[in-house]
């Protein structure tokens, strides 16, 4: 094992001092980048805790001015926001479960080189990454299937993601050696059994990652909700949010009279942004524990 003939490492044995310097550099850079990333959030939070007057005057930066919780009281006291939150959670969970199921079902067979038609099926899936009919054909399909104003329209069409499938497939290929499969075959196991008992446990990090991708992807997207859902109790949270922060009239229409009140005060918008974003952010720490050093128990040698 201790093969000192591996001289290629010889040049890379560093001294402790350079190691320490590298460490400091890394820590500082990462910290600076993190701060850079969190600042806009702090800005939005500050706005949501300020008075509307100060926000309209664009005087709020990182510290709330005229601190008050009125906006949050209003948002949390709005039953439609809470209902939308639960609705979105439900849809996201179902979407992630279905998505993972489909991804695994598609990815695993495609890793087996002996599968006849492997290339054709792969291309079949990959084409969907680049080609799509457009909003009107999609809408007509939902209409035909009777899925308009039905949460299924937010779950079924997008559940299978070829992008995620490719990631899964690549990951299986590089993580699970063929030798494992061979020895399992010799033991009399079928493909599905191998998948469930051997492959999946080894792929925990990537499964966690893809679950995160699915969940976040569904949580952030709202275009389909805008077109398929008109019953407000079924609106997704980001859909509601998007309606809020859109500047409605970008052209002058002298036919429409202007309202006597402002549509959505900036403060409310900011509070809604935080309300809609926090739930998904806090799921990450739960997924993180799967990103621990990989486990390869009982790996086959040689």
């Amino acid at each position: 094992m201790a093969n000192k003939s591996d001289f290629k490492y010889a040049n890379y044995t560093k001294s402790k001092a350079i190691d320490l310097a590298a460490d400091i550099f890394i820590y500082i850079t990462v910290a600076l980048l993190s701060i850079l990333c969190v600042l806009p959030f702090i800005h939005v939070i500050a706005k949501s805790l300020s008075s509307d007057a100060k926000v309209t005057s664009q005087l709020v930066y990182l510290i709330p001015k005229d601190f008050n919780l009125k906006a949050y009281k209003s948002v949390f006291g709005d039953p439609s926001m809470i209902r939308s939150l639960w609705q979105t959670i439900k849809v996201t969970v179902l979407f992630t479960a279905l998505g993972m199921f489909l991804t695994i079902c598609a990815a695993y067979p495609l890793t087996r080189k002996r599968l006849k038609g492997r290339n054709i099926i792969s291309i079949f899936f990959i084409i969907t990454l680049y080609f799509s009919g457009g909003i009107i054909p999609d809408y007509l399909l939902m209409h035909r299937l009777g899925l308009l104003n039905n949460s299924a329209s937010l779950i079924l069409p997008l559940a299978f993601s070829a992008y995620n499938m490719i990631i899964m497939r690549t990951s299986i290929q590089s993580t699970v050696p063929d030798s494992l499969e061979e020895s399992a075959f010799l033991d009399g196991a079928g493909d599905i059994r191998i998948l469930v008992q051997i492959v999946l446990p080894l792929c925990k990090p990537i499964i966690a990652t893809l679950c995160l991708f699915y969940a976040v992807g569904r949580w952030n997207a709202y275009q389909d909700s805008v077109f398929y859902i008109t019953r407000q109790p079924l609106y997704l949270l980001q859909h509601k949010l998007n309606l809020l922060i859109q500047t409605t009239n970008t052209t002058l229409t002298s036919s429409e009279a202007q309202p006597d009140t402002v549509t959505n005060p900036e403060v409310i918008k900011s509070a809604c942004i935080i309300f809609a974003t926090l739930p998904i952010i806090i799921t990450y720490p739960f997924v993180q524990k799967y990103f621990v050093k990989g486990v390869m128990i009982g790996a086959v040698k040689g």
Binding site: M1, A22, I192
Partner: protein, 315 residues
């Protein structure tokens, strides 16, 4: 299991051959049926709508009833100066994104991997991917507050330090780089996730033997980590190359302004005003078809190249 020597020998053997594979791998095919069915229904059925790229689509006439015009829509697009401007900008911005932005999550992931303090790592990871959750409308609002000339915070700081103001968002070349760097900022944290997941799949024994062989930190990265995530990198690179013709409407629209229209007009914004706003769905679909075809060709080409140099490739 012997083949009878008959005149139809070849046909029988072919048939038998196919059935043989199905019988042998029936479980794999069974697994595939469900995703294939979903994809056919939800992705391929609507693709029939692509046909309106070759028609003069009128809403009430429907797909079938609208008049066939062949390549007329494409001719119209390709003889339009604004389209070429949009095309040029899309390629420039996406190219720069790829060049400057693609390596960033990789580098960041490698750095994060080197951090031994667990709590420091966890906190920073959570903070780093926050920008991914902000919509471009919000990001643009903050960007303008910081970077606009005169009252933008950054420019105020520069002035106070005695330096000249920088037209981050109001001069063409500056705007391009601001656009790219904000994009990097927004996606680099999130992009590390997949690389970090890949890194954890690398056999730790490899690291142990490298340490024993005397490898330092950089050596391990170069000879173990990077090769270990090579397939992930290749896969993402190919997919992103295929997206080089695409564009994010929200990003370009929110960050753009009339002063830099010359560089901020991308295919997505062009389609928005020339296609969607004008209710010319045929045009919109035609442009989309063009983007898809180019994207697919790029994927196939880069896949072929990657196989040539010995990688797995996508297909």
């Amino acid at each position: 299991m012997e083949l009878k020597p008959t005149a139809h020998k070849t046909v029988k053997s072919m048939k038998k051959g196919f059935m043989y594979y199905v019988k042998r791998d029936w479980q794999l095919y069974l697994l595939l049926i469900i995703p294939i069915a979903m994809v056919i229904v939800f992705k391929y059925f609507p693709m029939a709508g692509l046909v309106i790229a070759f028609k003069d689509y009128k809403i009430l006439k429907g797909f079938m009833g609208s008049e066939w015009v062949g390549f007329k829509n494409f001719v119209e697009i390709f003889s339009n100066k604004d389209f070429y401007r949009a095309l040029r900008n899309t390629l420039t911005l996406n190219g720069l994104d790829l060049l400057l932005g693609f390596p960033m999550p990789i580098i960041l992931a490698l750095m994060l991997n080197e951090i031994r303090s667990l709590w420091f790592k966890k906190i920073n990871q959570t903070l780093l991917y926050l920008p991914h959750f902000l919509s471009w409308v919000i990001i643009a609002g903050v960007a303008y507050q910081l970077l606009q000339p005169g009252t933008g915070l950054v420019n105020v700081l520069l002035r106070n330090m005695g330096l000249k103001e920088v037209p981050f968002l109001t001069e063409n070349t500056h705007w391009v780089f601001t656009y790219v760097f904000i994009g990097i900022w927004q996606s680099m944290g999130w992009g590390t996730i997949i690389y970090l997941a890949s890194i954890t799949s690398i056999n730790p024994e490899l690291y142990d033997s490298a340490t024993i062989d005397g490898a330092g930190r950089w050596g391990k990265i170069r000879y173990i980590t990077l090769p270990g995530i090579r397939s992930t990198i290749t896969m993402l690179l190919i997919i992103n190359l295929g997206r080089i013709m695409g564009s994010s409407f929200e990003r370009a629209h929110s960050l753009g302004n009339p002063i830099v229209k010359e560089v901020s007009s991308v295919i997505a914004t062009y389609v928005y005003s020339a296609g969607i706003q004008a209710q010319k769905y045929s045009l919109t679909t035609a442009v989309g078809l063009f983007q898809s075809v180019v994207g697919l060709i790029l994927v196939l080409v880069s896949d072929w190249i990657s196989k040539k140099i010995g990688d797995e490739g996508l297909l």
